[in-house]
Amino acid sequence: MDLAVVVLLQVLAAVASLALISVGLAVIFGMMRVINLAHGEFIMLGGYAVIYATRWGINLWVAMLIVAPLFVGLVGVIVERSVIRFLYGRMIDTMLATWGLSLLLIGAATMIFGNTTTGVSAPLGGVSIGQYQTSIYELVLIVIVAVILIGMMAILRLTKLGLIARATMQNPAMAASLGISTSKVYSVTFGAGAALSGMAGALIAPLSGVLPTMGVAYVAKAFITVISGGAAIITGTLSASGLLGTLNTLATFVATPVIGEVALLFAAIVLLRVLPQGITGKFFRRAL
């Protein structure tokens, strides 16, 4: 019984963390059709933002939920204005440029922070379920991810900003002819996606530590989650991370963490072979 609860929690935690690291990329891909290969480095920057903010005496939660997203969001806007906007419609060039950005940021971070893992201790301590120990922070993380997704859904559905975003997503030319500045929308979108990635990096920093090259581990996972999910931002991210996260945890449980990872990646490949448009290309077509 206890075991079942623990496994269930682990599955939930895996799904939540996959959704968390993917959602920023999903926003940028879903709305702009831009594949941002510097996504992992946005996560990394979020991690460093938390570490430095807490060193300067800022409360950890404030650092994670406000400072990191703001900082990385700003970086995102700068990147969009200085690089990405010249490359719209050239998908492969965008991929290459963001890959270059990724390497550049890794290099810069290595030069500034050094090539060692820096940590920040997880808040809230632990809790025991029967004979098993688990950290409260991981449980809180599940809740935070749920809140983020629900919040995004609410913004997209209920606000004017969300309406503009959805309109641009559906038909950029039409949105532009209605007087919406697509350039501004893209700028804001890229910033928002970067901010979400920054927050993701901040939130996982206490669990994984922060390292200049940490992004590499996340970008591929985020990438395949988003592409497996398809064009619908929230439903896609959620369904793909649900599927892949569950598989990952179960395979880890019966074999090793490495097999778990491999199972995740392999499942994504098979999924793309079967559903090249992603899950939401086939199901939940009209979802967000």
């Binding site: 594949i35 419609g89 270059g100 290099g107 030319a173 591929a220 990646l265 072979r273």
Partner: protein
């Protein structure tokens, strides 16, 4: 250039490169020569990507998978057989077979650009993780321990075919690597001039058109992809001879490097990527000696600058300049500046192209 001019240039290029191959070992110190051999083996890997991406139009973000597979197959077989002859053959066959399998998977599934990039990238990551997890005695193939993160430091050097006694010295491996580069370059040029090659190029130019003419494009893509896989495998063998095999061969870094070299040298050319890779390796190595300057930073900056400023790459841009220099611009463009449809009805706004149409029959 006229066909005749091309032939003359080829002959001159061939003679110069052969001369360079024989002169360099006398000029360079052993350490530098080994580095040069690494550069050349990476140039072969770059050439393989230039072929499948630049000419086949296949966006492969996972060339390192074939490179690493080639290296590991070579090391494992050479250790087990004691003789490198069949190891070399297998180290080209295994990546080629793997490429064929992967290619069957993606081309018959009609998976397009971006998704292809993701799948190939993911494949490399799977290998990276798997080979990193092979530490310990449990992971042995015959008498070769895979060694996890450390790889196989005792990768045996090449020997003369069927002559185990004569292991090759670094100079010999230089001759082989450089010779193979020249061979593969002319081989690629020949390949592209055959019927097969011309159809492959047409697929890159306009996939749908070639299909509507009645060509089964999947087979052609599979063909060029498999050839590229074998070539990258060969690069892996040479690399294993200069360094040793380890999971880093599957790393994102090697993946990124070759893509950068091809981009910088010029997509759709062969010489551009070859020289691009060698020049950039030299530059990065040189800059890497500056204290505190990270090579990733340099690579990243180069890639961004090229995508933004010289998106076609160096060689094609030089060609355009040369054409302009040779003929006055008015003559070059006898036809209206854009040969595009005058109708203007189908002008797509750049930002709205449904770029993610994953090659479905949409």
């Amino acid at each position: 250039m006229s066909p005749r001019g091309r032939t003359v240039a080829s002959v001159i290029g061939f003679v110069v490169s052969v001369a360079a191959i024989f002169v360099l070992p006398h000029w360079l110190e052993l350490f530098t020569l080994i580095n040069a051999t690494i550069y050349v083996s990476m140039a072969i890997m770059t050439l393989s990507l230039a072929l499948i991406w630049g000419y086949g139009g296949i966006l492969c973000f996972g060339q390192a998978a074939f490179f690493g597979l080639g290296g590991y197959t070579y090391a494992v077989c050479a250790i087990n057989f004691g003789d490198s002859t069949w190891a070399v053959v297998l180290a080209m066959v295994v990546p080629a077979l793997f490429a064929a399998l992967l290619g069957y998977f993606v081309f018959w599934g009609r998976i397009g650009d971006v998704y292809l990039g993701v799948i190939t990238l993911t494949m490399t990551l799977i290998f990276f993780k798997l080979f990193n997890a092979t530490a310990g005695d449990a992971y042995k193939i015959g008498s070769a321990a895979l060694g996890g993160f450390n790889g196989i430091p005792s990768t045996p050097p090449l020997n003369l075919p069927w002559d185990v006694g004569t292991a090759l010295a670094p100079e010999d491996i230089w001759y082989i690597a450089a010779g193979l580069l020249v061979l593969f370059y002319f081989g690629s040029r020949w390949l592209l001039s055959t019927s097969f090659g011309r159809v492959v190029i047409s697929i890159r130019e306009n996939e749908r058109r070639t299909e509507l003419l009645g060509y089964d494009i999947r087979r052609y893509k599979l063909g060029i992809f498999t050839i590229g896989g074998a070539m990258a495998g060969m690069a892996g063998i040479l690399f294993a001879n200069c360094v040793f095999v380890s999971p880093t061969m599957f790393s994102l870094f090697y993946n990124a490097q070759v893509i950068i070299w091809v981009t910088v040298g010029g997509i759709g050319t062969l010489l551009g990527p070859i020289f691009g890779s060698i020049a950039l390796q030299m530059i990065v190595a040189e800059l890497g000696t500056i204290d505190g300057l990270d090579p990733n930073l340099i690579l990243g900056a180069i890639l961004i600058l090229f995508v933004l400023l010289v998106p076609k790459g160096v060689l094609p841009s030089l060609r355009v300049l040369w054409e302009r220099f040779r003929k006055p611009p008015a003559v070059v463009e006898a036809s209206p500046p854009t040969g595009r449809p005058a109708a203007g009805a189908q002008k797509a706004t750049p930002s709205q192209q449904p770029a993610a149409d994953a090659g479905g029959r949409s």
